[in-house]
């Protein structure tokens, strides 16, 4: 391309002349085009001046959006879980204030102003237009409102504004489920713009950040109204011409029962763990608690750095353990393992094995130990469940093999999102050959399968998955997606959210449900069952399964001694169960981290929840008009919007 043999002769004089010609032509072009611009501008600015002047004067009408009120949230009995409270804030309009620092000093003499508040205010002053009001101090107490009101006449440009702010009366116990709202930030704004929802959020200050508040943001938010106002040539309001009221957000009725929620949170106090309860008949989530927790109200007004730092402790209060905590399920899945074996005809209800206290694969040295060193003797499936015999299930797992186990458990939702109506959820791990190949790049070993029999090895589950699986057993195969939202109350009246059912699990022999249900019944009701003592004297009959999840591997010939082990390495106490046995109304999963045995540490909690739910029924406020099909009601709404 770049030839080194240029033509030997160049004529500089001719080239210069050429360039000069071209430059003159170009300059002439520039002049012509500039003339074109100016004549066009002359046409606009001089010839059409009157037209445009009139149009500019007509441009005095501005549209001011009005934010809708956020919907309230109630529990299943009509108790308010999230409400909007008026919040008084002190606002200043810089344009109307002659001496801003002086005014701030005067206010500081009346009210206490933190350095943060002052800094925030001063940095906003430079970013906003001068006739827009800026908050100096929010959350004024009634006393403060009174104190400042007295001096307002001497402080032009200073006013007290009342705005609605979210308030969560039950605070900590609901945080992970209900979530919270927080000030819209830049990231939210970008997402809103991406989704083309700028118009909807024009007047909105807060947005759901977690849990229900986030998941149902759209329902709760509503649609803004607007005010057409006339402004003078400095932008100040002269009069209101037209006003369209906002459509307020819908009120949500959750399936939660705040009594269970509070009870569970109280019982978990000081421990790390989770409790989830659902109604096996429709998947309604009755309680979902994760401990430790934190006060959601902190986030509503913008959390301080110190407070946020506290939430980053190693107890991880920010994590919703009910849906994001992944725990080895331990013995709480033995009923499912038994069911898988019955289905595969690996065992039947009469199959027995003799348990010497350990299990060994042929040709392998390693012994898999039972939790009872001297063994349970001759056990069938009922005794194996009642006593939580490990050896029996080692054997079952070995006979089933990994493929049949993971295929069967897959149907119960292990390794999948439960589909619960909050965004914070993990899938946990249901191991399979392929999974181990992908994850660890190792083949599946027979020994891995043995530990699966007692819910250890690579298998992890979230409490919501466990409760889901328990509910399926309680309902003999009927499956529902867990739902926190029960109904919504908006312009179309009350919309009952129908149960979201999934295809049922159909067994080759329905009697198999009965066998494992009987096994779970014996755990609770047969003397010697691992949860027998806990549920003794209950007014209802329940069924369940205890679990004690080992977190560190203990050498073959070593004894587990809780006192010698670091607290964080102690066993997780777990319990799954449902009640009443004949007509299940509630299924539950309890996980208490590092608490020890499931029978002694987790089952009592389950009983307390059952007691509250089944023994003292509350009076339910049933709202009047019920539209059962939410989808139908929604299409109504769309038609209505189209008509408008």
């Amino acid at each position: 391309m770049f030839s080194r043999n240029r033509p030997p002769i160049r004529n500089p004089a001719a080239e210069n002349a050429l360039f000069k010609r071209r430059a003159i032509i170009a300059f002439a072009g520039v002049i012509v085009l500039l003339f074109l611009l100016i004549s066009n501008l002359y046409n606009i600015q001089v010839n059409s001046y009157e037209t445009y002047k009139t149009q500019a004067n007509g441009n005095r009408i501005k549209v001011i959006p009005i934010a809708p009120n956020r919907g309230l949230i109630y529990d299943r009995n009509g108790i308010v879980l999230a409400e909007n409270k008026p919040n008084y804030s002190l606002e200043l309009i810089p344009e109307e204030i002659k001496n801003l620092p002086d005014t701030i000093n005067k206010i500081a003499a009346i009210l206490e102003l933190t350095a943060d508040e002052k800094d925030n205010f001063l940095s906003t002053v430079n970013k906003q237009r001068r006739f827009k009001s800026i908050t100096l101090k929010s959350r004024l107490t009634p006393t403060e409102v009174a104190q400042i009101s007295v001096y307002l006449h001497a402080l032009p440009g200073v006013s007290i504004e009342a705005r609605l702010r979210r308030f969560y009366p039950y605070g900590e116990s609901l945080t992970h489920t209900l979530g919270y709202v927080a000030r819209l930030n830049k990231k939210d704004q970008e997402k809103i713009t991406r989704d083309g929802e700028d118009a909807i959020y024009k007047a909105t200050r807060d947005i759901g950040r977690l849990g229900i508040e986030k998941y149902y943001q759209k329902l709760l938010h509503g649609l803004p109204g607007y005010k057409e106002i006339e402004v003078n040539n400095r932008g100040r309001v002269v009069r209101v011409l037209n006003e369209v009221l906002p459509i307020h957000g819908e009120d949500l009725y959750l399936n939660l029962d705040i009594r269970l929620q509070e009870k569970a949170y109280k019982e978990l106090a000081g421990r790390r763990g989770a409790v989830v309860a659902v109604d096996p008949n429709n998947g309604a989530v009755l309680a979902m608690v994760s401990s430790p927790s934190y006060d959601p109200n902190l986030f509503v007004h913008g959390i301080s750095r110190d407070n946020y730092k506290k939430l980053l402790s190693k107890d991880k209060p920010l994590i919703n353990r009910a849906t994001m905590g992944t725990y080895p399920p331990a013995s709480t899945i033995k009923q499912l393992m038994g069911l898988a074996a019955l289905e595969a005809h690996v065992i039947d209800e009469h199959t027995t094995i003799s348990d010497p206290g350990w299990y060994k694969l042929p040709n392998v040295e390693r012994k898999f130990r039972d939790h009872l060193a001297w063994g349970h003797g001759v056990v069938d499936i009922f005794r194996a469940m009642k006593k939580s015999c490990d050896t029996y299930f080692y054997d079952v797992a070995n006979k089933l093999g990994i493929d049949r186990i993971s295929e069967f458990m897959d149907k119960f939702g292990f390794g999948h999102y439960s589909g619960i109506d909050i965004h914070e959820e993990k899938r946990a791990i249901m191991p399979s050959r392929q999974w181990k190949r992908d994850r660890h790049n190792q083949p599946w070993y027979a020994g891995d399968t043995i530990s699966l029999g007692i819910g250890q090895s690579y298998w992890t589950t979230t409490p919501i998955q466990l409760v889901d699986a328990t509910a399926i057993v309680a309902a003999s195969g009927k499956r529902f997606t867990p739902q926190i939202l029960g109904a919504s109350l908006g312009n179309n009246g009350l919309l009952q959210l129908p149960a979201n059912d999934k295809p049922s699990i159909v067994l080759t022999n329905d009697a198999h449900w009965g066998i494992v249900q009987k096994g779970m019944h014996q755990v609770v009701n047969s003397p010697g069952g691992t949860a027998y003592r806990v549920f003794k004297g209950a007014k209802y009959v329940s069924a369940g399964k205890t679990g004690t999840a080992q977190l560190i591997s203990i050498a073959e010939d070593e004894e587990y001694d809780a006192d010698k082990i670091n607290e964080r390495h102690r066993d997780n106490a777990m319990y799954v169960g449902y009640a009443p046995f004949d007509n299940p109304q509630i299924a539950i999963t309890v996980v208490v981290e590092n608490a020890g045995g499931g029978g002694s540490r987790a089952a009592p909690l389950a009983r307390k929840i059952f007691d509250v739910y089944l023994n003292d029924k509350p009076k339910t406020k049933q709202p009047e008009k019920i539209v059962t099909n939410i989808a139908m009601a929604q299409s109504d709404r769309e038609v209505k919007n189209a008509n408008e």
Binding site: M1, F2, P7, E15, I44, Q45, Y49, N59
Partner: protein
């Protein structure tokens, strides 16, 4: 030849401007434009001092860029032209592959500390490259060389267009095309190009233009068709300009801009603010400053010593004119809205730094001339 190099044997003391490699008349014109920028940005931003301060910082940084660029001699630029070009095209490809998406277009490469926009650099690299290539042969440029030059232009222009950034690709393309024009591309080629524009634009319309670009063109043709959508910008802008009249409403008194009816007041539509508040008189003053800057640059180009310097400085100057023509044309409804700022007046640092580097190069060309001693 009336350039200084004919004055054989006169050992003139080197003037100060040549020591620091700056051209004071040109500098004066540029400073006048930037003063206008500060005054109008203050008004367009709603009397926001913080924004004026940031713009002052942009101006300062662009002056630094100009002074640095002025130190490069044309010989140096020539030596590195091809390498610059390869690196520039490489970065454009990288932007398309891993660029940062801002405002719906991939224009930026994230360097960790700062974001870098390779298409901006291309506004200078391409004219350097084309000027270098085309003046390697005797002038007027032959058809073969013009074709190769056109190919060299097409590569970066296509890459920038794909980001998608129509405004910048137009500016980069015009920088290259002007270099070819100044190098004496034959009138036959030019006229046949003009004729072929019609089928070409039809092809662009149906195969290459993005939906948003088509809607811009459509609303340009008939802004009233979509008064609340994309036509809104043009309508409000014309109201602003027109209501300014001959003398304007006075500084800070433009209702269209102060009441926020004008979109992008401090960036692309800053000319409308100026027209509203200072009227046709203000507009003519501004255009006179622009004309002075262009005239001075073309004078420098004509007095440059070798074809490369002439073609390069001429191309940069004419691209500068395209900037202002496209911007004023679009805000006053003559041209469709393509995102091109008003050069040196619109708020923003990126284009200002590129423009000022370009003027730095022109000053460097003027002050690196060799005189016979």
């Amino acid at each position: 030849m009336q350039t200084n190099n004919t004055k054989v044997g006169l050992a003139k003391p080197e003037p100060l401007s040549h020591k620091v490699h700056l051209d004071f008349p040109l500098l004066l014109g540029l400073m006048a434009l930037m003063l206008v920028s500060l005054v109008v940005v203050y008004s367009a931003s709603g009397e926001n001092i913080a924004m004026v301060k940031r713009q002052a910082l942009n101006i300062f940084l662009s002056f630094v860029a100009m002074v640095i660029a002025a130190q490069f001699s044309p010989t140096f630029l020539r030596r590195w032209a091809f390498s610059f070009f390869i690196v520039g095209v490489g970065l454009l490809v990288a932007t398309l592959l891993f660029g940062h998406v801002g405002k719906g277009a991939q224009r930026w490469i994230d360097l960790g500390v700062a974001k870098f926009q390779p298409s901006e650099a291309m506004k200078l690299i391409l004219p350097i490259m084309i000027a270098h290539y085309i003046t390697s042969y005797s002038l007027p440029a032959k058809l073969k060389n013009v074709s190769v030059g056109a190919l060299l232009i097409a590569i970066p222009v296509f890459l920038i267009y794909r980001q998608p950034d129509l405004g910048t690709s137009i500016l980069v393309a015009s920088a290259g095309v002007f270099a070819l024009f100044l190098a004496g591309m034959s009138w036959k080629v030019i006229s046949s190009l003009f004729i072929s524009i019609i089928p070409f634009s039809l092809m662009m319309w149906y195969f290459f233009l993005h939906e948003y670009q088509r809607s811009r063109v459509l609303t340009f043709l008939n802004p009233e068709s979509d008064p609340l959508g994309s036509g809104y910008h043009i309508i409000q802008s014309k109201i602003a300009i027109g209501s300014g009249g001959l003398e304007g409403k006075g500084w800070l008194n433009g209702t269209q801009s102060q009441l926020e009816f004008l979109p992008e007041r401090h960036t692309d539509f800053i000319f409308s603010v100026l027209s509203e508040e200072f009227g046709l008189i203000g507009v003519i003053v501004l255009l006179s400053i622009y004309l002075f800057v262009i005239a001075r640059c073309l004078y420098i180009a004509n007095n440059a010593q070798e074809p490369f310097s002439k073609v390069l400085s001429g191309a940069i100057t004419l691209t500068f004119f395209v900037y202002l023509f496209v911007n004023i044309g679009m805000v006053s409804g003559l041209l469709p809205v393509v995102g091109v700022p008003l050069p040196l007046v619109s708020y923003g640092g990126t284009s200002m730094i590129t423009l000022m580097s370009g003027f730095g190069i022109i000053m460097g060309i003027h002050t690196h001339r060799q005189f016979n001693r």
